[in-house]
C-alpha cells in the first residue's frame, strides 16, 4: 500500500515538472522580451517609437517610428477578419446543421488539410499566383500589397474559424432546435435564431482565435506584402509588425539600437497577442459559466 502511494507521488511529480516546462517557457519569453525590448523604447522615447511615421533603421540618420507597422498589422488583420469570418461562419453553420454526413466528411477533411499547409507554401502560392493576378486585375504596377496579404491571411484563418465554430454549433442541445421546429419555425430560422445565438460565445472565440493567427503570421505575409515601411494603403507595399522583426533581424548587429528596436517591436506585438488572449479567455469563461 505504502509502495503504491510513493509511486503515485513520483508520477505526480513528473507530471508537475512537465507542466512547469510550459509555464517556464512563457515566463522566460515574457521576461526576455521585456528586458530586451525596454532599452530601445527608452532611448527612442515611447511616443516617438509608437507614433513615429518613419522607419529607416540603417540610414545615416536612423529613424525608428513603428506607426506604419502597427496600423498595417491592425488593418491587415481587420481585413482578413472581414473576409474570413463570413466565409468561415457560414461554412460552419452549413457543415454543422445542413450538410449530410458525406459532404461534411469531405469538406472537413479539406479544412483540416488547409490547416496543415505550412505558411511558407501559402506565401509561395501567393507570390506566384495572387500577386501577379492582383497586378493584372486592378491594373496596378505591382501586386505585392496590403490587399494580397489580406487575402492570404483570410484563407489562412479559415480553418481556425470553421473548426472552432463547428464545435460550438455541434454542442447546442438538440432539444432547443426541436422545440423551435415544433413551434413552427423553418429550419433556416431555427439555425440563425436558436442555434447560432446559443453558440455565440464559441463563435466569438473562433473569431478571436482567427485574429490571433492573422496578427502573428510572418512568413506568408513577408512574401506577398512587399515589405516597404509605408503607411498602409490597399495597393501599396506594406510592412507588418511581424515582418519588420523577421526581415531585419538577420543583419542587425547584436547590441545595436537597430536590434534593440526590433526587440521593442516584438514586445509591442507580444502585448497585442496578450490582449487577444485575454479577450479569448473572457469569451471562453463566459461560455463555461452559462
Amino acid at each position: 500500500m505504502k509502495k503504491n502511494r510513493s509511486f503515485e507521488n513520483i508520477v505526480h511529480g513528473i507530471f508537475l515538472v512537465l507542466g512547469l516546462i510550459t509555464v517556464g517557457s512563457v515566463l522566460l519569453i515574457t521576461v526576455y522580451l521585456i528586458i530586451s525590448g525596454i532599452p530601445a523604447i527608452r532611448e527612442i522615447g515611447l511616443f516617438d517609437f509608437l507614433f513615429g511615421k518613419e522607419w529607416a533603421s540603417t540610414a545615416a540618420e536612423p529613424k525608428y517610428g513603428i506607426l506604419p507597422f502597427i496600423l498595417t498589422s491592425v488593418y491587415g488583420t481587420a481585413g482578413a477578419i472581414l473576409i474570413g469570418v463570413p466565409i468561415g461562419f457560414f461554412t460552419a453553420v452549413y457543415l454543422s446543421k445542413v450538410a449530410n454526413k458525406k459532404v461534411r466528411a469531405v469538406i472537413e477533411a479539406a479544412v483540416n488539410l488547409l490547416a496543415g499547409i505550412p505558411s511558407v507554401v501559402y506565401g509561395l502560392v501567393g507570390m506566384l499566383v495572387l500577386v501577379p493576378a492582383i497586378r493584372e486585375i486592378f491594373n496596378v504596377p505591382d501586386g505585392a500589397s496590403l490587399l494580397a496579404a489580406i487575402i492570404v491571411l483570410a484563407i489562412m484563418i479559415l480553418p481556425n474559424i470553421i473548426k472552432v465554430s463547428i464545435t460550438a454549433l455541434d454542442a447546442v442541445p438538440k432539444e432547443y432546435e426541436d422545440a423551435s421546429l415544433a413551434l413552427g419555425a423553418t429550419a433556416t430560422e431555427t439555425f440563425f435564431k436558436v442555434s447560432v445565438p446559443a453558440a455565440k460565445s464559441g463563435i466569438a472565440a473562433a473569431v478571436v482565435l482567427g485574429v490571433g493567427r492573422a496578427i502573428g503570421e510572418a512568413m506568408a505575409v513577408m512574401m506577398v506584402a512587399g515589405n516597404v515601411a509605408n503607411m498602409p494603403s490597399l495597393f501599396e507595399s506594406v510592412r507588418f509588425l511581424t515582418t519588420a522583426v523577421a526581415s531585419e533581424m538577420a543583419y542587425s548587429s547584436p547590441g545595436s539600437l537597430q536590434r534593440n528596436a526590433l526587440f521593442s517591436i516584438a514586445l509591442v506585438l507580444f502585448l497585442f497577442i496578450m490582449l487577444i488572449n485575454a479577450t479569448l479567455n473572457f469569451f471562453l469563461k463566459r461560455n463555461k459559466e452559462k
Partner: protein, 266 residues
C-alpha cells in the same frame, strides 16, 4: 579518487580556455565589412577544418574594420571598398580578395537591355518613373530591392550613390525572392549577385558592358566593388594570421570564394 581526476580535468580545461582567450597565436581575428560575412565565414570554416585554427569575424562595417587594424585590435581588417589615400598614408595596405559583382536584372520581356549607372541611379531614386523614358514600354517602373542591412543592397546603393534615397516598391529578404518577383512582373527591375542570376530574368549590360566574371575582374563592368583585406604595411602578421592570409589568397580558396557568390581576384 574519481573526484580528484575530474577536478584535474576541469583545471586543465579551464587553463586551456584561458590560454585560448589570450591574444596568442591560436586564433585569427577579422573585423569589418558586414557584406563579407558570407565569404569570410566560408573561408574561415574551411581554414579551421584544415588547420584547427579558429577564425573570428566581427561584423562592424568597413570603416570600423579599417580603424580596428590601425589600432591593432584585430589581425586582418575587411573592407568592401578600396582604401582611401589618407588611410594608405597611415601605413595600411589593401589586398583585393574578391570582387562582388551585382547584376541589374529585368523581366525577359523587357525590351531595354542596356542602361548606364547614372540612369540606374535616377530610376532607383524615382527621377525616372516610366520605362518609356529609357526606351522601353509605357509602364511604370517597379523597383525591387533587398531589405535594409543586406550586403547586396549596401553594395548596390554605395556603387550607384543612392544610399537611403531608393524608393523601393518591394524590399525582399532573399536573392531568390528578388529573381522570382522580377521574373513574374514585366515592369520590374532588381539587383542580385551575379552568381545567383538565372535564365528566368535578363541581366542588363551597364554602359555597354555585359556582366560576366571576366568584365567584373578587369573592372569594365562598373556595378561591382572589391572585397579588400586590410593589413598594416611593414608589420608582420602573427603566424596563424599569416597562414590564414596565405590560404585565402591562394588558388585553393577560389572555389570557396566562388561558392560564396563573388569573383575571386587571384
Amino acid at each position: 579518487m574519481k573526484k580528484n581526476i575530474s577536478l584535474l580535468v576541469l583545471t586543465i580545461m579551464l587553463a586551456c580556455a584561458l590560454v585560448g582567450c589570450g591574444a596568442s597565436g591560436n586564433s585569427v581575428a577579422t573585423d569589418g565589412s558586414t557584406s563579407m560575412n558570407k565569404v569570410i565565414g566560408a573561408l574561415g570554416e574551411a581554414f579551421e577544418n584544415e588547420t584547427g585554427i579558429t577564425v573570428t569575424y566581427n561584423a562592424t562595417g568597413s570603416g570600423a574594420g579599417i580603424q580596428a587594424v590601425l589600432e591593432g585590435r584585430c589581425d586582418i581588417g575587411l573592407s568592401s571598398r578600396d582604401l582611401k589615400d589618407e588611410e594608405k598614408s597611415k601605413g595600411l595596405e589593401g589586398t583585393v580578395l574578391a570582387y562582388d559583382g551585382i547584376a541589374i536584372i529585368v523581366n525577359p520581356n523587357n525590351p531595354v537591355s542596356d542602361l548606364n549607372v547614372e540612369t540606374i541611379a535616377k530610376i532607383y531614386t524615382g527621377e525616372i518613373m516610366n520605362w518609356k523614358e529609357v526606351g522601353g514600354n509605357d509602364a511604370e517602373i517597379v523597383l525591387i530591392g533587398r531589405e535594409a542591412g543586406s550586403g547586396t543592397r549596401d553594395g548596390f546603393e554605395s556603387i550607384t550613390d543612392t544610399e537611403d534615397k531608393c524608393k523601393y516598391r518591394q524590399e525582399l529578404t532573399s536573392t531568390g525572392d528578388v529573381i522570382t518577383t522580377v521574373a513574374s512582373n514585366p515592369a520590374a527591375i532588381g539587383y542580385a549577385s551575379l552568381a545567383s542570376v538565372k535564365d528566368t530574368v535578363k541581366a542588363l549590360s551597364v554602359g555597354g558592358v555585359a556582366v560576366s566574371e571576366a568584365t567584373i575582374k578587369d573592372g569594365s563592368y562598373v556595378v561591382q566593388r572589391p572585397f579588400v583585406l586590410v593589413t598594416k604595411k611593414g608589420v608582420a602578421l602573427s603566424e596563424s594570421a599569416q597562414s590564414f592570409f596565405d590560404y585565402i589568397t591562394s588558388e585553393a580558396a577560389n572555389e570557396i570564394i566562388s561558392v560564396a557568390g563573388v569573383v575571386p581576384a587571384n
